[in-house]
Amino acid sequence: LAKTTQPISMDSYEGQEVNITCSHNNIATNDYITWYQQFPSQGPRFIIQGYKTKVTNEVASLFIPADRKSSTLSLPRVSLSDTAVYYCLVGDTLTGFQKLVFGTGTRLLVSP
């Protein structure tokens, strides 16, 4: 199973763009890259998922280089409500995804 490495914490201000990078050097061919957001006292919430290149939805963008050994979650113009823990996960839902340990994630603090 691919292991992921993320920064433990990041600080930002309202209106700024935040980029959180995740390293996954031993990603497998079938693995997807998925990001979740977790607020206190809630379960994680799906943000975005990708396999290669760039994916964009109404919440974020996900940039994946050609070698797929890292990925970057980009949050445009963050607000105070984006303060949360962000988890990067790598795996294939049908084989190893269900065994993934989410890890400690990246704690993002957005200040006024």
Binding site: T34, Q42, G43, Q49, D92, T93, Q98, F102, T104
Partner: protein, 114 residues
């Protein structure tokens, strides 16, 4: 239902007692997951169901932990003879069971063992 429902939301018990945690997944979701999250830490995988079967139980911390699922719907996680180190939030998630799909999480059960 509209989302994954877990009950109770909070459970306080005495050391040595048994507890049962319930998860109602989203209707039609064949895959169901249990995770444990200790304070300030990431999610620890416990067990996974595909339909009513659990192909991998290796994440269960000890033989005091067990889980079952019936009717490809509700699942229960049972902890026997609870210990203080069992105190944590227990999260349930469900998914369609297809490759690459996303997990939908419940709000969890906060278990406190005194």
């Amino acid at each position: 239902g509209a989302g994954v429902s877990q009950s109770p939301s909070n459970k306080v018990t005495e050391k040595g007692k048994d507890v049962e945690l319930r998860c109602d997944p989203i209707s039609g979701h064949t895959a169901l997951y249990w995770y444990r999250q200790r304070l300030g830490q990431g999610l620890e995988f416990l067990i996974y169901f595909q339909g009513n079967s659990a192909p991998d139980k290796s994440g269960l911390p000890s033989d005091r932990f067990s889980a079952e699922r019936t009717g490809e719907s509700v699942s229960t996680l049972t902890i026997q003879r609870t210990q203080q180190e069992d105190s944590a939030v227990y999260l349930c998630a469900s998914s369609l069971g297809d490759r690459g799909e996303k997990l939908f999480f419940g709000s969890g059960t906060q278990l406190s063992v005194l």
